[in-house]
Amino acid sequence: MRAAVVVFPGSWSDGDCLFALERLGVDAYRVWHRETDLGGADLVVLPGGFSYGDYLRCGAIARFSPVMQAVGTHADAGGLVIGICNGFQILCEAGMLPGVLMRNASLQFRCQPVHLIAAEHGSPFTAGIEPGRVLQVPISHGEGNYFADAATLEALESQRRVAFRYCTADGLVTPEANPNGSVANIAGVLNAEGNVLGMMPHPERAAAPLLGGEDGNVIWQSALARVGVPA
């Protein structure tokens, strides 16, 4: 599998994504946001960070970067796209995913481990996660409070496009397990076709036992399996 990790001015988890992907044997490389060619990528990663300093609104400026046209074309053709943290915000701003990410309900930045339960099992990113398995993955954001209007939420739920929800260590979806106030504990969502995922938690940080766990790898491994190269 080839994975293009897009670098916007202000991205900072590009290196961490390369680290996680390379550990799994993926041919991963950076693509500067001014490029228009994704280099034949099977998977496109929009990493975390503060693209353009989060000025104006998170992701609002990065969506106009030249590379985003290529990302859109790649997605339209069924290619896999994952946006993590700021990448999720960019995908929402670009209209590739529904909803918005508001300031955390606490009005503070939060960097802490959270537990996630995959609420959908058919997508390329979640198919490899056994039903009921609880993943421990860190969050690190100030604006991860997901919101969408009632009709959008209804569509997300009925089409099983809520990829991940915040839960307790036992897999219970409770208000106490919600670190940022997201509606319905939503931590990640899919587009209608299931090939575009946005999520606030950082799977690339849960990539090795040395870092406190490697639960994040199952998401990359799912994508690898879909592209046809066993991990």
């Binding site: 001015p9 202000g10 991205s11 900072w12 988890s13 290196g15 961490d16 680290f19 996680a20 975390g48 960070g49 503060f50 353009y52 300093g53 989060d54 000025y55 606490s106 503070q108 930045f109 939060r110 960097c111 802490q112 860190p138 690190s140 100030g142 950082h202 690339e204 940080r205 990539a207 090795a208 040395l210 870092l211 406190g212």
Partner: protein
């Protein structure tokens, strides 16, 4: 030009210093020359009260790559071509006036010191001091500083992994904000901040220059008073996004095109003046700058304003002439402005022009040769009385569980989670021991090594006995590093004191520096970088003497890392001292201050014993005997054990421990040179006890860690408390003090 006293006061230059300048120049300086000299001769830039004392510090060692003070930060050879650079710096005065931006730009400044050397910043730490949180103003300063550190570091993408915070009335109105940064890279990519090669261009990169922060260096070198609010324009505003671009561009330049540049220098205090002059001084050259070529944020700025502006996120690059275009193109690709503003000369002068008009011409060596003062020291009159307080006459503790719960919930000891969960402490995927333990441990990717970093200083101990107290700061920072399994390697310091012109403050400064030097020499940890922040005073008085120590440690095998978390079945021991302690062990302790409202006694440390204890812990860990380790410091043994239990989520049965005549001294005394450690079983415990006996170090078996769950308890002699109650006190301490459920 005659200079009136009001002008001299505004730029914090004495009449005698002015006359010295006239003598050196053999003429009256013009306004810009005077401003440049005042900035470089300020305490903040010139260290005129502290530099003569720095000679006491050990500064060399087999792994030291830089001469102390020669570059922006100290560099350490880690072997196999790897290099670490680190430094700590204060941003106290700006944070007192505008906590968010003051702290944020403190982080920005220390980051630039690191990437100016071509290294990638991989960890930030912050050593903070405030007045008590029951005062609204202190809550405002504390939450503002934490938000500013997070706001900057989180955006730049460098993890904030550690530090400390203490609260004491002496810091009310004059908080301390000391930021430390660690960078790593390959030795061959180290850059110098030198303006070498006459004829090479000077390139200013990054933000445009505005009127912000003018005279910041002099502001940092006077006491705070009621008029300080009016200094708000001397506080700069940070742009972490610009910093991130500068960081990436500079690291790329160093790693891939180091041969294009002669020097790289950050713009910090005193802006373009200090960066260009210091770079010229390092190389023995001169510089010529045309201020008309400096891109401005606003129209109508005078040469003085351009040269003294402290606008943030700017770097001075000295490319080789033939690579000027390459360097400009590299910065443009990172979407940064880069402009030629002058060139290196061979005449030893700092020459400033505005177009064709000469604005200033002053020898570099005059600017970098500030007057130096011998301190006029006098031991504070009340020290003898405070040291002589008979601690044995105090009533002993009658309810140890309640006392422990009170300590765990106090702002000085309670969990720092409220702080560090606001900081991204994991970005760059190198943080293998996160905040909350003794030291943070950063994995050196591509190797099996890891770097430990910690900051420490207990101002109360320094106040009571400056020389021993400062040595304790080094010892505790070293113990913190040892507690994660790393060997202490080198030190950076940040010397925070009051007005050095007062003899009692001068005494604190001199004795503290001697104490730091004693300990650094004893542990073989040279001082490779540092910063002094004096005049930390308000009309209410000076801050506690706070020579903050930043310690770097190296762990060869990251798999051997330790944390305070004990597990069920672990055998827990106290290493370094007998269990029973005399009342004198309470000297300067948190227990004494909070329970008896008393800061008294004589802090003491035996550096030889401290070294033996640390070596024993490292040796035991290298032999695989240890499963956990924790420094036994603030709050004493009971707090250390509670933290081990809370970290591991288990109880401990040490009910058989014999605590001696003074319960309070054994449980809450803060005698130095002690660790709590755990071994996985009785066999390894026995091996550790043998090893300790051979090393002449006390090792006292306390008991066995018991099961997790609702009914887990900490039992230590007569002390018996539920883990749930300890956790509630510890985790809720800071939020309660801040008056929020957050």
């Amino acid at each position: 030009m005659t200079v009136d006293d009001a002008t001299l006061e505004r730029i914090a230059l004495s009449r005698a210093e002015y006359e010295r300048l006239v003598d050196l120049l053999d003429r009256e300086p013009n306004g810009l020359e005077l401003g440049m000299a005042a900035a470089l001769w300020s305490e903040h830039c010139g260290y005129k009260h502290t530099r003569p004392l720095f000679r006491h510090f050990p500064t060399t060692g087999p792994s030291v790559l830089t001469e102390a003070g020669a570059e922006n930060a100290g560099a350490i050879d880690l072997g196999d071509g790897w290099c670490a650079v680190f430094k700590m710096e204060s941003h106290n005065h700006p944070s007192a006036i505008e906590p968010y931006e003051g702290a944020a730009t403190g982080v920005g400044g220390i980051l630039r010191d690191i990437f100016a050397m071509g290294m990638r910043p991989v960890a930030l730490l912050d050593s903070l001091r405030f007045g008590p949180l029951d005062e609204p103003r202190n809550r405002h300063l504390f939450s503002g500083v934490v938000a500013g550190i997070g706001g900057y570091g989180n955006c730049v993408g460098v993890p904030t992994v550690g530090g400390e915070v203490q609260f004491d009335p002496a810091y009310g109105g004059n908080p301390l904000v000391n930021a430390m940064c660690l960078g790593v890279g390959r030795v061959e990519h180290l850059l110098s901040a030198s303006a070498r090669g006459p004829g090479n261009p000077l390139v200013l990169v990054g933000a445009d220059t505005g009127r912000d922060g003018i005279h910041g260096a002099t502001f940092a070198s006077v006491e705070l008073d009621d008029a300080s609010e009016e200094r708000r324009p001397a506080v700069q505003v940070g742009n972490p996004f610009m910093e991130k671009l500068l960081l990436e561009a500079c690291v790329e330049l160093a790693e891939q095109h180091g041969d294009w540049v002669e020097g790289l220098q950050d713009l910090g205090a005193a802006g373009l003046t200090s960066s260009s002059v210091e770079a010229a001084a390092r190389a023995g050259t001169g510089i010529e700058i045309d201020v008309a070529r400096v891109p401005r944020r606003e129209a109508g700025m005078t040469p003085d304003e351009v040269m003294l502006s402290e606008s943030q996120e700017r770097m001075l690059v000295i490319p080789k002439r033939e690579h000027l275009d390459d360097v400009l193109a590299l910065f443009r690709r990172w979407e940064l402005h880069a402009d030629v503003i002058g060139e290196v000369t061979d005449d030893g002068y700092a020459t400033i022009r505005e177009g064709e008009t000469l604005a200033a011409r002053i020898p570099v060596n005059v600017l970098t040769d500030p007057p130096q003062y011998e301190l006029d020291c006098e031991r504070p009159a009340d020290l003898d009385r405070r040291q002589a307080v008979d601690l044995a006459a105090l009533p002993d503790c009658d309810d140890p569980a309640a006392a422990l719960i009170a300590l765990l919930g106090s702002p000085n000891i309670a969990s720092r989670r409220w702080i560090y969960r606001q900081y991204d402490h994991e970005v760059l995927t190198g943080t293998v021991v996160p905040p909350g333990g003794d030291a943070a441990l950063i994995w050196l990717k591509g190797t099996e090594r890891a770097l430990a970093v910690a900051t420490d200083c207990n101002g109360r101990l320094v106040e009571l006995e400056p020389r021993a107290g400062a040595a304790c700061a080094v010892a505790e920072a070293a113990r913190n590093v040892v507690a994660v399994g790393a060997t202490p390697v080198a030190v950076t310091d940040c010397l925070n004191f009051g007005n050095p012109e007062r003899p009692t403050i001068a005494y604190q400064i001199e004795q503290s520096i001697l104490g730091l030097a004693d300990a650094c020499r004893a542990f073989g940890t040279p001082v490779v970088s540092g910063n002094a922040s004096l005049y930390n005073e308000t009309p209410a008085g000076a801050v506690l003497p706070t020579p903050t120590v930043g310690m770097l440690g190296l762990l060869d095998d990251v798999a051997r890392r330790l944390t305070p978390a004990i597990s069920e079945g672990d055998e827990v021991l106290l290493i370094g001292a007998p269990l029973a302690q005399p009342a004198q062990a309470l000297a300067g302790s948190e227990y004494l201050a909070s329970r008896h409202d008393l800061v008294a006694g004589v802090p003491a440390i035996d550096l030889d014993r401290e070294g033996r204890v640390q070596r024993l812990v490292l040796d035991a860990n290298a032999r695989g005997l240890l499963s956990a380790a924790h420094d036994c410091a603030d709050g004493g043994l009971a707090v250390a054990l509670a933290e081990c239990c809370l970290a591991g989520g288990v109880g401990l049965d040490a009910s058989g421990a014999v605590l001696g005549d003074r319960l309070d001294a054994a449980l809450f005394g803060e005698a130095q040179s002690r660790f709590v450690v755990a071994t996985p079983d009785a066999e390894t415990r026995a091996a550790l006890e043998t090893l300790a006996a051979e090393a002449g170090v006390d090792a006292v078996a306390l008991g066995v860690a018991t099961g997790a769950g609702e009914d887990a308890r900490l039992r230590l002699g007569p002390l018996d408390a539920s883990l749930a109650a300890l956790r509630e006190a510890y985790e809720g301490g800071l939020p309660r003090a801040l008056g929020s459920g957050a």
